[in-house]
Symmetry: C2
Subunit: 228 residues, 2 copies
Amino acid sequence: MQYPSESRIMLAIDCCIFGFDGENLKILLIKRNFEPEMGKWSLMGGFLKSTEDLEDGAKRILKDLTGLDNIYMEQLNSYGNINRDPVERTVSICFFALINIQEHDIEEAKSKNGYWFDFNKKPELIFDHDQMVEKALSQIRYKAALHPIGFELLPEKFTIPQLQKLYEAIYGTTLDRRNFSRKILSTKLLIDTGEKNENSSTKKAALFKLDQAKYESQFNAFHYFVNL
Amino acid sequence: MQYPSESRIMLAIDCCIFGFDGENLKILLIKRNFEPEMGKWSLMGGFLKSTEDLEDGAKRILKDLTGLDNIYMEQLNSYGNINRDPVERTVSICFFALINIQEHDIEEAKSKNGYWFDFNKKPELIFDHDQMVEKALSQIRYKAALHPIGFELLPEKFTIPQLQKLYEAIYGTTLDRRNFSRKILSTKLLIDTGEKNENSSTKKAALFKLDQAKYESQFNAFHYFVNL
DNA sequence: TTATAAATGTGTTAATATTACACAATTGTT
DNA sequence: AACAATTGTGTAATATTAACACATTTATAA
C-alpha cells in the first residue's frame, strides 16, 4: 500500500554550524563546486536518504562534510517555498550545530572548500540560507540566555572571562564582568579545576569545567544567564 | 534539470490546534475514517502539495478541516523516523495553532469527526502524534511565558481573571491574583474597554482588549508574563 | 629589581522586581 | 439587609539585578 503520489518531494538537510575562536562567533560555510550556484557560498547540506531518520541524516551530513561526530545539534526549522531551489521543488529541514573549534579539527571540511567566517563578515549565501542563518542566530540567542548551550562552543576547560566573551559575541553587547561571574557561578554548573590558563600575559584566570552530571540533569531548567 | 531521485519522500503536515473554554486547555482531534489506523484519533493533517509553500499548505489544511482561516499558527518541528507511518516513509512537518473557541465555530471540523478534548483527557493518538502534542505544549508554555500569544486563545474582549485562568491552565498551576494583574497591566498591552463582563453572578470584571498596535510592535519583546 | 599596565577575583550599595499577604467594593442570592 | 463569591487595589518583606571600587596577579619595560 502507498499513498497517492501527489506529493513526493526532495528533502534536503542544511546545517548552520557555529564556532567561537575566543573573540568572534564563527560560521562554517562551504564554497559550492557544483551546479546550481557553483562558486557561491552555502551552508553545509545534503539530501535525506530514504533509509535514515532526520537526526541521523543530519549527523551523517555533518560527519561527511566535517569529519566530526558527537556534536551538539538541534532541529531549527523547515523551509519549503516553492521556488527556493531553482533546480526542483525541495523542502529543506535546517539544523544548527555548535562546535568547539579549539579541540576539533575540520581538515575534512577544509578539503571540501569549507571555511570558517566571522559571523559578522559572512558573504551572501545561496537560496534561502541567509534566512536560515538569521533564524539560527536568533534561536541561539534565545536558548543561550536560558539554557547552558554556550559551553558547547568552548574547550573542555575554560575561564569565566572566556565564557563572558562568548556571551558578548553571541549578543553583540558587553556585560559587567563582576555581575556575569556571580551569575554563572551561582548556577553551580562549573567546577574549578584548580588549574590556571597559562596563555595569558597578565593574571592567569582559573580554568573551570562543566559539572557534567548537573549539566545533563538541569539542561531544561532555566538559568537566566543573560536577561533577554 | 533534476536532482538524482534518491530521496523524494511523502511530506505531510500535521497541526496541533489548541483552544480554551474558560476552564481548560482544549485540543482539536479528529477520528480517522480511513486507513491506516481507521477509528483512532489523530491530529488534523494532510499532505503538502507540490504547488504550495509550507505555510500555505498548513493554512489550507486548517481551512479544509475546520473552515477557519486567519488563525495564529507557528511551525513547530519536523518528524521523520523511518517507520513513523506504516504505509510509506513520510516526513511530517508539525504546526501548532491557537484559536479562540468562543468566537469561532468549527462546524466544518465537527462534520468531519473533529472534536474538542480537554487537553488532560485526550486519548492516545496515532503514529508519533502524542510526541508532537507534547512538544507543542512545551513550546506554548515556553512562548506564552515570554510573549503575548495567550491572547490568541481568548475572545476579543476578556477580563483579567479570564486571562489568569488561561495561564493557570497552560501551566497547570495557580497564580496570585494580585501579582498577576499587576504584571499583566504593567505591559500596557491592554486597553480597558469600559465595559463589564455581564456573565457573572458576583462583581463584574472589567473587559479589556488588546492594544493591537502595541501588540504587533512588541511581539518579539520579552514580557515575562510568568516566570519559568 | 622595581614600576607599570593589563587582566582577574571579590565586596558593597542602591535600584528594581518579586512575593506574600489584607482589606474594601460590587453584585446576585437568601 | 445580610451573605457569599468574586474583583480591584495597596503595602511590606524578600530576592534579584545593576552599578560601581579596590586589591591581586603576572609579563614586560624601565
